[in-house]
Amino acid sequence: MFPKLDPLLHSELRLAVMSILAGVDEADFTYLKKQTGATSGNLSVQIDKLTAADYITVEKGFKGKMPRTTCKITPTGQEAFSNYVESLKEYLSAGK
């Protein structure tokens, strides 16, 4: 029996955001937008979903006079991401 893939992570944009955040301390909204190539609206919606699941935290502040939104992966998010990768590996090894 295969473990069910986390539906929240099994989405292209949300998975890309989590993959970026898993490798850094924190990342700006503008950086995530640049790296994923997503539109601001689309990215905001997906970030809200990840925040609601407690996978990431969002902090709004200022850098100089410019508004800045910073995203950071939570321990829950790290665990969910690791579990998701493990599940993917199980799927792939079973398919061989």
Partner: protein, 191 residues
């Protein structure tokens, strides 16, 4: 990128790997400019002091070394401000840490040598500089940088013991060029 695209398991794993690698490359490529900047500054200042000492015959020009942190740190901070929200990963943080510690040692020991206990500062600084360069190579998993750092530290120590006077400064010119090359290698490695 679409949020609702159906992905297979292998597509998901590929997306994770590609995103992770691209992110890592972008961060390390961005760190390369600091190596180029500090390398250029070290090359320029060591050459200026060497030429002034050589032609004016006065070792007091060594005080110009303190221009390095005075010029370098504000400019490096300014460069960091305009990084377009570039985050840090473990490797870029450790690289910053290694060179930050090197800077603290170099400045403190130079001040102690001038004010309190005279010592062969060139010998000490070139060894820790070679060590910092080696550590950078280990973190970047780059053998040419590891070897260059080792040669700078060991070769520089021998050079510092054999050569006296302003000639010793040329080892720092070589060190600066090595830093510059490290930055260029990083730019190529993470293209």
């Amino acid at each position: 990128m679409e949020q609702n695209k159906e992905m297979t398991a292998s597509e998901s794993l590929q997306l994770i790997t590609e995103t992770f690698n691209k992110n890592r490359k972008d961060i390390l490529r961005s760190s390369a400019k600091f190596f180029i900047f500090w390398g250029a500054l070290l090359t320029a200042i060591s050459l200026i002091i060497y030429l002034l000492w050589h032609f004016k015959g006065n070792p007091s020009w060594n005080f110009l070394w303190f221009a390095m942190p005075v010029i370098g740190y504000p400019l490096a901070a300014l460069m960091g401000r305009y990084k377009d929200g570039q985050p840090q990963n473990e490797v870029s943080k450790m690289l910053g840490g290694v060179w930050g510690v090197f800077g603290a040692f170099a400045i403190t020991l130079s001040a102690i040598a001038i004010l309190l206990v005279p010592m062969n500062v060139t010998l000490i600084i070139v060894i820790i500089m070679g060590l910092a360069e080696c550590m950078s190579g280990v973190l970047l998993k780059n053998w040419p940088i590891i070897i260059a750092g080792f040669l700078l530290g060991v070769g520089g120590a021998v050079f510092a013991m054999l050569v006296k006077g302003e000639g010793q400064l040329l080892i720092f010119t070589l060190g600066g060029i090595l830093l510059l090359l490290t930055g260029c290698i990083m730019k190529l490695q993470y293209k």
